[in-house]
Amino acid sequence: MRNLGLIIPLLLAIFGLPAVAVSESIKVREKLAEAAISSEEKQIQILESLIESGDPFIAKVLIAWRRGELFLIEHEGSTIPVLLENADSKEPVKAFALKNGKVLNGKSGKKLTFVPSQQKAAETTRNLRAQIKKTTDLLAILNPNPKLRAEAAFKLGSQGKPEYLTALKNRETVEDNPKVLKKIKEGMAISQLRIGDEKQRIQAAVNLGELRCIASLDSLERIIREQEKLTKGEKNIDLIRETSKAIKIIEVHKDWVNKGQTVFRGINYGAVLLIVSLGLAITFGLMGIINMAHGEMIAVGGYSAYLMQKWMTGFFGPEALQWYFLLAIPFAFLAAATVGLLVERSVIRFLYRRPLESLLATWGVSMILQQCFRLYFGAANVQVNSPDWLIGSVSVGDMSFNYNRLFVIAFAAVIVLGTGLLMSKTSLGLSIRAVMQNRDMAASMGIRTSRIRMVTFAFGSGLAGLAGCFLSQIDNVGPEVGSKYIIDSFMVVVTGGVGNLLGTITAALGIGTADRMLEAWSDSPVVGKVLVLSAIIIFLQARPGGLFAANSRSLD
């Protein structure tokens, strides 16, 4: 069911259906059209009768009505209620008859158009507006989308109206979605807590506790506050006791949910760290180049995503926003790899025997590249949009996981897996490992070491480019998008143990989780960061070679 929520907007977006969808039931349409031109009394009667149909189209029309966007047009001698294609338009637009959803045609069969602001809108009285609200509220718990239904159920309950409570009770008997059922129960309990008799209220508090309903904390606390104001004789001791108990249970639960969310955010941040440090794990970890230009390779990836977006939307229009990113990924990799290749050939290949000078040279490269970005793209951030399918979230229990965060983790898993496979299963990976471990030996085995190092550096840079492409979805792309992460990346690689992919993964996830947990604990992102960095410094006391340092015999 969860997928529907994702697919429907996607389909809508792809086929570009107009907002006014075609209703299945003509009967409903006819009733609505009748209501639009009836008296108030009749209108309320019709609306009341419409509730049980459960058609979400009704709510759509009613909302338009309340907003004054249901128009009454004099056409061929009769008054026809219509919805306009775009009620905000200043230009003449097409009209759809409410009765049958068809476009209004003139005598010659030509489509008629109307300027919205010049048309007469169907009026609403105070009573009607109340009825519209009631109808839409009650319709909401019949909505076919379980997510909206669950939301509506709780909202209905918290309004504390007897007729809503009845509606919820009715729905409870037929609802088969467990998530929605839970929400309905919560809604009923919270409703009873407000409007029930003393006994019902106590039962409601117990129920809310059992349901671990975080959203009811406010209501429960309000009960306690109200009771405290009462004189001793008026106080309901049982209610206070049960409410306090429920609050305690819910708070423990809330604490766990928060912890879970923190861990998730930690893993998510760890995945970000992993993505940004993976390239460095290759160029620094494997090749021993203190690559200060790593951040600029990330920026190359970020700007690649931006360029791809610009070109694709320029060519295919705004729909390209939904898919340009899939093209941006390989493009970012190739662009950064190319820059890496050039840097390796022009600078780094002279410095393999001078690691500390590779730091200086790559910093020079980083300065130059950063300024080039500034000159070409401007010092300000550029706008890179996310496709719609990365917006939104999925919830498990009381925890919700954003799609783009889940995407981060999946992305990290894919590129780590890919890199791991490349290193361990291909002959290129074998050559790379051979050259990095003992260049002279590899050379005498017939491996072209110079070429291998060139490819390795380009590959590491390409990974940095992927990181940048991906960062463009969660961060702003600017000249310094990558250099922000450079120290974090170095810390990850050093903590993991230089030249060890598994160490990099562990370190990234460990540092990410620790960072977010300390941040949650200390309530300050800075304290969290400082503590993590201090912890790393102290950790390196115990294991100067990092987590997975090779403990080998050295030759002297």
């Binding site: 403990n551 080998s552 015999r553 030759l555 002297d556």
Partner: protein, 256 residues
């Protein structure tokens, strides 16, 4: 096990492994004061690890290493402390201060003023100068004392490093492959040099070159897979079938 007083070095039940690989296993080794001991063994027998353990470069997993009359436990000391007890080590690849002159190389190895502050206010007196000259003569580098050490030949660097050890006035000299990369003539002279030191110092020499070992050998210890498999005179070693199998046998067949 009790230890008679005359041992300068006592190694008992020492173990050391790297990532599961046992480099030294249950090693026992005793050495008399004033002895010149040669240690041989095939590649990977744990010879260099053996020296690393004595000098504190790596720490033992288990076992004890005792030094001198006072029974200093070397496993608990750091490299410089072990050196200050009188254990000097020559590395396999010559390790000299390439940026300093030959004279300074020896001067820096003198045992006085090795603290941070005393080294700032250290002044070279004539007695120390004489000592340096003496050593330079012994290692035949007197004419080259103002030359930067980096400019020396490989053999000269080996000699310079031996000179640096001598300057430290050690009780025990650990010499790792002194003949490596030397010409035959140089090798022979190195052997003579070591023999001339025999009385004043205790010396452990690790060597591959069998010609050289024959020249200097008194008592020989054979290491194999981190264990002592045989100890005795060169003749008894050469006639031993186990040794021949693990080491000399192969060596003989290739040499022949």
């Amino acid at each position: 096990m009790s230890k008679p007083q005359e041992f300068i070095l006592t190694i008992e039940n020492v173990n050391k492994s790297f990532e599961g690989f046992k480099a030294i296993s249950d090693l026992n080794f005793y050495m008399d004061k004033g002895e010149l001991r040669t240690i041989i063994g095939p590649n990977g027998a744990g010879k260099s690890t053996f020296l690393d353990l004595i000098t504190g470069k790596i720490k033992t997993d288990t076992g004890k290493i005792l030094f001198g009359n006072e029974d200093h436990d070397l496993t608990k000391l750091r490299e410089y402390q072990i050196n200050r007890l009188g254990i000097a080590r020559k590395f396999q690849t010559p390790s000299v201060y390439e940026d300093h002159t030959v004279f300074d190389n020896i001067m820096l190895s003198l045992p006085e003023s090795r603290g941070v502050f005393s080294s700032i206010f250290f002044r070279l007196d004539s007695e120390a100068k004489d000592r340096i000259t003496e050593i330079l003569k012994t290692i035949r580098l007197k004419d080259m004392e103002t030359v930067i050490a980096g400019a020396l030949s490989h053999g000269q660097k080996q000699w310079l490093e031996i000179g640096m050890l001598l300057a430290q006035q050690p009780k025990l000299l650990l010499v790792d492959e002194p003949a490596a990369g030397m010409s035959d003539d140089e090798t022979k002279r190195t052997g003579e040099l070591l023999l001339s030191l025999e009385e004043k110092h205790s010396i452990i020499v690790i060597e591959h070159d069998m010609e050289f070992v024959r020249q200097i050998a008194r008592k020989v210890t054979v290491l194999h897979q981190g264990k002592v498999i045989k100890e005795g005179s060169m003749d008894s070693i050469q006639s031993d079938p186990t040794v021949a199998e693990v080491y000399l046998g192969r060596k003989h067949s290739t040499a022949a």
